[in-house]
């Protein structure tokens, strides 16, 4: 099932930021530049050590890779069990990259309590990476909770006007969700013991578990509350606009780019494969909540007067797309959903960075305070244009491929759903272009804007990787999508075994037996057909017969 790593790569990736944080403890809080250099150094180092995940990942195997397994709390069967597949590897790379960018972006923005600030940011990195690598459900939960604390302080201390309110809102909301999720985890844990007599939190074993439908239903609900708050799905999104708006730039960037992905990651890693039947039962509910989220988020974004709040609500809309693609429960939809998670990290992370740049200069986020910035900050306007276009899904930039995969994935299941999603995309274009028009175009009416400096070299450096990635994924998404193949197959093998989206009568010929059976055999069976056959098999034959 798993390839045990000879070299503890994942631990190295996970603990590099923590080492930086501990090191910072011994630096005087007055030598602020030293602190900055150390924090940036460890963040970049964290990214560099995570690069092997890109190069060394074996795309052909469905096994877990870079696995490390040590006993942790033997009395309850919890282990230090970590490993990755293509999906989590990409999210880890996203986390390490966005983390270094966020840390670099704070150089001049944070001037108070610099030491604590960077310690928290580095701790947050470790927490996020830990959650993505955990193959032990309890370990995952620990990291999941650990992430909350630094984020809470980042918003509460270095945030803007309403920071305490927003920080507490964020903390309580997520906490309530995760406590309910813990109940779900325990239910699976005890059920597993009941069936097999083994106490374990091993996710790979949970993936082979066939729970009775009633239990699945309740556990799905518990997981759903935990993950949906994080995504966030309508109507659990109310913490997000406040948290985003009041967080410091780096906090918003990490929150949008990585923390929200924790929710969608949870769905794909846990809810879908552990609870396949319940997942299918919940499809209409989740889908309609996602659709409401897409359109609702877009409409609310359109009405915002606050630049950052607008981007925050656009996140609600975009994450609705991600959820919609996922709950198409087709290979194309889930692939699109994952690709779009990465794209959302790039483009929304970039948009928050961009708001941060002008906020640092003008200390206001009111859209009406700006106007005509293209003239004063041409480089800024160019980067903003690329990020806007990426966010609204212009082909040759990253957003398009995710959108089209999601649309195709959802389309074969239900055309009405796809129509709603498309409406959301059009609305998305409307509010983003309108924002761009109001801030970048026109004459400079506000004298305060006249002397604004264009992007500094450091600021430009924070955008460069995002621009490169946006164009790369846009022009040639194949390397990313190929890495996801086996991860998607793993989920599909569980979820789709009893689920024929288009037409319940048209069962797939070369499908493994429904139910559990030998998971490996199922996965192998899935991977032997090439990708195209898998797609065509679902819709076309079902439709034409």
């Amino acid at each position: 099932m798993s390839n045990t790593a000879e070299f503890p790569l994942l631990s190295l990736i996970m603990f590099t930021p923590l080492v930086g944080a501990v090191l910072l403890l011994f630096v005087s809080k007055h030598s602020e530049n030293t602190i900055r250099w150390i924090a940036n150094g460890f963040a970049v180092l964290g990214f560099l050590v995570s690069l092997p995940l890109w190069f060394w990942l074996d795309q052909s195997t469905s096994d877990w890779q870079f696995v490390e397994r040590l006993s942790w709390i033997p009395s309850i069967g919890a282990e230090y069990f970590i490993g990755v597949d293509g999906f989590s590897a990409l999210l880890i790379l996203l986390a390490t990259l966005m983390g270094s960018i966020a840390i670099l972006s704070s150089w001049t923005a944070i001037t108070e309590r610099v030491k604590e600030y960077y310690i928290f940011l580095l701790l947050l990195q470790t927490g996020m990476i830990g959650a993505f690598v955990s193959l032990d459900f309890l370990l995952f939960f620990v990291f999941w909770e650990v992430m909350l604390v630094p984020m809470y302080f980042l918003i509460g201390i270095w945030g803007s006007t309403n920071r305490l309110y927003s920080a507490i809102k964020f903390f309580l909301f997520t906490l309530v969700g995760s406590v309910i999720m813990l109940l779900g985890i325990l239910a699976v844990y005890f059920y597993h013991h009941e069936v097999t007599g083994v106490y374990t939190f091993d996710i790979t074993r949970f993936h082979e578990l066939n729970m009775p439908f009633d239990l699945q239903w309740w556990v799905f609900l518990a997981f759903f509350l935990g993950f949906a708050v994080k995504v966030p799905m309508f109507p659990f999104h109310t913490w997000l606009p406040d948290a985003h708006t009041d967080a410091p730039t780096a906090g918003s960037v990490i929150l949008a780019a990585v923390l929200l992905k924790m929710g969608t990651y949870g769905f794909i890693r846990f809810s879908l494969p552990i609870l396949p039947e319940a997942t299918q039962a919940f499809v209409p509910w989740v889908v309609w909540l996602s659709i409401i989220g897409i359109i609702y988020g877009a409409l609310v974004a359109m009405a915002q007067r606050d630049w950052k709040r607008l981007v925050a609500y656009s996140s609600v809309s975009h994450m609705g797309m991600v959820m919609l693609g996922m709950f198409a429960l087709t290979p194309v939809g889930i692939t699109g959903s994952i690709v779009q998670q990465i794209n959302h990290g790039i483009s929304t992370g970039g948009l928050f960075l961009l708001v941060g740049v002008v906020y640092e200069r003008r200390h206001t986020r009111e859209i009406s305070e700006y106007g005509g910035l293209s003239k004063i900050m041409p480089a800024y306007a160019a980067v903003f244009l690329v990020m806007t276009m990426s966010s609204i899904g212009l082909p040759t930039l990253n957003g398009f491929i995710g959108e089209i995969l999601i649309l195709q994935g959802i389309f074969v299941v239900n055309k009405v759903w796809a129509a709603f999603a498309a409406t959301g995309i059009v609305l998305g274009a409307a509010y983003m272009l309108w924002l761009y028009q109001r801030t970048m175009f026109g004459t400079v009416n506000n004298p305060k804007n006249e002397g604004l400096a264009d992007l500094s070299l450091r600021e430009f450096a924070t955008f460069t990787p995002l621009l490169i990635l946006a164009v790369w994924i846009g022009l040639y998404p194949k390397p990313f999508i190929d890495r996801l193949d086996t991860s998607v197959d793993r989920v599909m093998a569980r979820v789709n075994s009893t689920y024929a989206p288009l037409n319940a009568g048209a069962a797939d010929e070369d499908e493994a037996e429904p139910g559990g059976g030998d998971l490996l055999a199922q996965i192998d069976g899935e991977t032997t057909g090439d990708g195209f056959d898998r797609l065509v098999r679902l819709p076309v034959r079902g439709g034409s017969r």
Partner: protein
């Protein structure tokens, strides 16, 4: 060799766009030359494909690379067939001429680097659109030209007063930044519908490659037809994109405002090339639906032709009436463009209304596309020169310019005669071709297009009269005797187009014959669709050109009287006849369509957005975060208190967290007994 030329067409302009900022560091002149050079490379590569039109046996040539293998298989490639050769040449050659014009027109503009980047980006995207071998990359090029158009309409994004379009007061003014957003959103809505159509085709056909779509048409069209209404749905969705891009009813309202961009941009994008991409796509689908309707026996497929023909015919009339009353020179051209594209759509639509017209209708539509691209580009370049000289967009500020701008006057007249459809200019031949198929397919459509021909003649003579003839209105305009034909590059390029127009006119129907023969081979692609042989008797065909000339005169003579010989008559006429003034108002307000769209889609959406944000979201927030917690005990309040982070001893809090963290890790590893 053929494939290489096609790839060069796509790559060269993009390379030019990427090089512009680099070259501008070296020297501004080098940057300008580099931009023009890269479009010249594309033009030469396109011309090298032209001989293939005479030997269509070797076509189509296709070359495709794998772009995605999974979860969908999609290639990235080029398809060279007669249709794409014609379009490639129209795009590449006219772009090159216009790029030359830009060297003079944009002289002194501080943002020329940006201008060249957008222009070359546009040319590359447009060539990608017409050369792509599959629908997905066509769609990618399609979206990219839209964005380049956005960037160029909004080129004067600072919205200085002189670049406003619309008016004069009390009519609303539109700034370039509003115009570009409008254009991108309206076409974007059409694109999204079209994407739905593409996905539906993919769903049934399992491929997006054109040749495969043609080859497997019998299978997937039949599968599609099994679901009642599906073919109609696909038709409607697929047509939404072209109607948006080509500014046809009901998506036509963005084009008039798109005139806010620089003159040559309007010539290139909003007259000669981008707005033709809709026609190109419809032409790509014509054989498929023709096959479905007349060979496959799918009745619903005929909808495709009914919709295209009637939308085309109606839009041609609708836009022509608006051109009758417009006061801005470029807006007259814009309405005229919309109207003429209606003709092309009409030609393609009637191709499938009755069996046997496929080849003639198809050829007529594409032939009109080519001739329109030539004369409308020339007209727009001349309009650019006029506006450049006069510093006003209103024709009421012009007049008598034929003495100051003699060359521009000459070129405009040549192009305008072609637009009117006066023999022997190419506009006559191509419009005649459209009329010839229309008369066989549908009498109402035929008469509709004849009436439109009259209106076209009227507004063409009107703008010629208002701009070049009559008295100089120096008191209103800001121009003196220094107004002239502009820079050398401007004269040369508009002159070159005028020469091509004359040459094409003298060539007469032989161009049509070449297209006819080339398409004859390529339209044979779907098996059995070649049933479409040449149509039978040509008995009434002499009547058609005669009627068309008569209708041109019916429009041209009153316009000559009103705007050339006795201009004072116009206000008198409108004064005396109330209904004429009402009609003028109706046309001036664009049949009320623009206003209604603004109220419904713009104001309506914003109102809904504010209702949702102000009503729902605020209440939801208050309910979740105030009403609900208050329902809990005060314990929660206490917890909130404990979690407050604004104390001075925050550093201690930090160390708590760290201590917790380290303890956790310690536990993690101490508990580990290396099993």
């Amino acid at each position: 060799m053929t494939a290489l030329a096609a790839w060069t067409c796509i790559v060269a302009p993009f390379a030019g766009a990427a090089l512009a900022p680099v070259l501008s560091r070296v020297h501004p002149t080098l940057r300008d030359l580099g931009a023009v050079f890269s479009s010249a490379v594309a033009a030469v590569a396109a011309l090298s494909l032209l001989p293939l039109l005479f030997h269509p046996e070797g076509l189509p040539v296709e070359q495709e690379l794998a772009w995605l293998d999974q979860p969908l298989r999609i290639g990235f490639g080029i398809l060279v067939d007669p249709l794409s050769i014609v379009l490639t040449n129209v795009v590449a050659v006219i772009s090159f001429v216009i790029m030359v014009y830009c060297v003079g027109y944009m002289k002194g503009d501080p943002a020329r680097t940006r201008f060249w980047m957008w222009m070359n980006g546009f040319i590359g995207s447009m060539l990608l659109l017409v050369l792509s071998s599959n629908l997905l990359f066509l769609f990618i090029g399609w979206k990219l030209v839209g964005v380049c158009s956005y960037g160029l309409i909004g080129f004067y994004y600072q919205d200085q007063r002189e670049y406003w379009i619309g008016g004069p007061a009390p009519t609303r003014f539109v700034t370039p930044s509003q115009a570009c957003v409008k254009a991108l959103l309206v076409t974007g809505a059409g694109d999204m519908l079209m994407l739905g159509g593409i996905l539906l085709v993919f769903f049934y056909a399992g491929t997006l490659n054109f040749l495969e779509l043609y080859a497997t048409a019998p299978t997937w069209l039949a599968a599609m037809a099994e679901v009642p209404g599906m073919v109609v749905l696909v038709t409607l969705l697929l047509l939404a994109g072209p109607l948006g891009k080509s500014a046809q009813f009901p998506f036509h309202e963005w084009l008039p405002e798109a005139m806010a961009g620089p003159g040559p941009v309007s010539a290139l994008i909003h007259a000669a090339t981008m707005v033709k991409s809709g026609i190109y796509l419809v032409a790509r689908f014509v054989p498929l639906f023709y096959y479905g309707a007349w060979v496959g026996g799918i009745d619903e497929a005929a909808w495709f032709f009914h919709i295209t023909a009637w939308v085309g015919g109606f839009t041609a009339l609708l836009a022509a009436t608006q051109g009758l009353v417009a006061l801005e020179l470029k807006k007259v051209m814009a309405y005229s463009t919309v109207s003429q594209i209606g003709y092309m759509l009409l030609g393609l639509g009637v191709a499938g209304l009755v069996p046997g017209l496929l080849l003639d209708g198809y050829t007529a539509g594409i032939f009109h596309l080519v001739s329109h691209a030539l004369f409308k580009a020339c007209l727009f370049l001349c309009a650019g020169t006029v506006i450049h000289a006069v510093h006003s967009i209103y024709m009421t500020d012009m007049g008598g310019l034929r003495r100051l701008l003699p060359l521009t006057w000459g070129f405009s007249t040549v192009a305008a005669l072609s637009l009117m459809g006066v023999p022997p200019f190419p506009g006559f031949w191509s419009k005649d071709a459209v009329l010839l198929v229309a008369v066989e397919a549908s009498a109402p459509l035929f008469w509709l297009s004849l009436v439109t021909a009259s209106l076209t003649a009227f507004y063409t003579v009107r703008f010629l009269g208002m701009v070049f003839h009559g008295e100089r209105r120096t008191e209103a305009g800001h121009y003196g005797n220094h107004a002239n034909d502009g820079y050398l590059s401007m004269r040369v390029s508009s002159g070159l187009l005028a020469v091509i127009i004359v040459a094409a006119g003298l060539a007469g129907t032989s161009i049509e014959h070449v297209l006819h023969d080339a398409f004859k081979t390529s339209l044979g692609l779907p098996p059995a669709a070649a049933v479409a042989g040449a149509s039978g008797d040509k008995g009434e065909h002499l009547m058609v050109p005669l009627l068309s000339v008569v209708f041109v005169l019916v429009g041209a003579i009153p316009a000559y009287v009103l705007y050339l010989s006795r201009p004072a008559l116009v206000p008198a006429l409108l004064d005396r006849n109330r209904w004429l003034e009402d009609l003028r108002q109706f046309f001036w307000n664009r049949w009320g369509i623009d206003g209604a769209y603004t109220r419904i889609f713009v104001d309506g959406t914003i109102r809904v957005a504010h209702t949702v944000a102000g009503g729902l979201e605020t209440r939801l927030d208050a309910w979740v975060h105030r009403a609900l917690p208050q329902a809990f005990t005060a314990g929660a309040q206490q917890l909130v208190h404990r979690l407050r982070a604004d104390t001075e001893e925050l550093v201690y809090n930090v160390s708590y967290v760290l201590v917790l963290f380290v303890l956790l890790l310690a536990y993690l590893f101490l508990g580990t007994d290396g099993s």
